[in-house]
């Protein structure tokens, strides 16, 4: 593929707020088009640089093409993508910092959800005491937040083109770490502070959580990775401005 032509296309497509598959389609179609123009111009002039420049001009001003392409994405999809981008890793953001940011967001979000849920519970049922619920309002969001931290730390090396754990067995290994985290979470949810006798599900439920956590991690991360692999050559292109 011709990098100069790819850059011309990526300048148009990268800022567009659209689902990943839609953006990838735009890239492929615009690239096929600009490549055809380039071949046509090169046949006429025999000058690669001139053919490249003319092809870029013939494709149209990036701002205009981009605005028109953006107009084809429904507003509700744009809103969803903007929300999703808050949870995505920013360019050049270190993995640890990203994982901490995600876990803080998960902590705040879940704390608000639990506060709301318990508040509603107290309004509906007079038997629920706020004092009893306070440990849970802190405890559950912390567990939730920890799991998001583990997911972000384990998943990132596979979703990006670098990293020592890029291989398939790395995904399996990271899945095991997440499975262990899910099992530990399950144990905490069984509330060991109140055990007089170990409940029946003490080993069964964490084992199920471990297997389910591992399987889900490997499946989801692999699917995301397959989808990302198509767009990685484009997303990693350095645009001059």
């Amino acid at each position: 593929m011709n990098t100069s032509l790819m850059i011309a296309v990526e300048r148009i497509v990268r800022p567009i707020v659209a689902p990943r598959d839609r953006k990838q389609r735009m890239r492929e179609e615009l690239y096929a088009h600009i490549d055809s123009i380039y071949k046509e111009e090169f046949e006429k002039s025999g000058d690669e640089a001139a053919a490249c420049t003319t092809a870029t001009v013939r494709l149209g001003e990036p701002e205009i093409v981009r605005a028109e392409l953006q107009g084809t994405v429904p507003f509700w999809k744009q809103t969803l993508i903007r929300g999703d981008q808050m949870f995505g890793r920013k360019p050049k953001e270190p993995r640890l910092r990203y994982s901490i940011r995600i876990s803080i967001m998960a902590l705040v979000f879940s704390a608000v959800m639990y506060l709301g849920a318990f508040g509603l519970g107290i309004l509906v049922s007079q038997q629920i005491s706020l004092l009893e619920m306070i440990p849970w309002i802190f405890y559950m969001p912390l567990v939730f937040s920890w799991n998001f931290f583990v997911i972000a730390m384990c998943a990132q090396p596979f979703l990006e083109p670098q990293g020592v754990l890029e291989k398939k067995r790395g995904v399996v290994l990271a899945g095991l770490i997440f499975g262990a985290s899910a099992a530990a979470t399950e144990l905490l949810l069984l509330n060991p502070f109140t055990w007089d006798q170990p409940p029946i599900g003490l080993f069964l439920l964490p084992t199920i959580a471990f297997i389910a956590g591992w399987g889900m991690f490997v499946l989801v991360v692999s699917l995301i990775r397959i989808e990302k692999q198509q767009s990685i050559p484009w997303e990693t292109l350095e645009l001059a401005d």
Partner: protein, 115 residues
Amino acid sequence: METPIQGNQVRGHLDTMILSILEHEESHGFDIVKRLEQAGEGSLKLKEGTIYPVLYRIEDAGLVKAKWEKNNSGRKGPRRKIYSLTSKGRKQLEAGRTEWTQFVNIVGAIVGGAA
């Protein structure tokens, strides 16, 4: 030589023009632009990238359908999306032609040209 017509001057009619190009034969974006320019006998100049927003819009409206070109079509180069007219698109094309005729008749009568 006639002054070329730019793409933004035909913006409101580009959908119908593309449907008309696809009426008899399926085609990909680059070919659609070529055929539009040929039909315009050199007087129509489009910024070629702007054809795709129109294609996406009419595809979303169900007027055309698109499929990826098969890899074994014998051509070297990146794969392309092939567009073809749907039955809804054919109906829209007929409606577009009627609207165009009315437009030419009315505007032609006002500005003094022959319809």
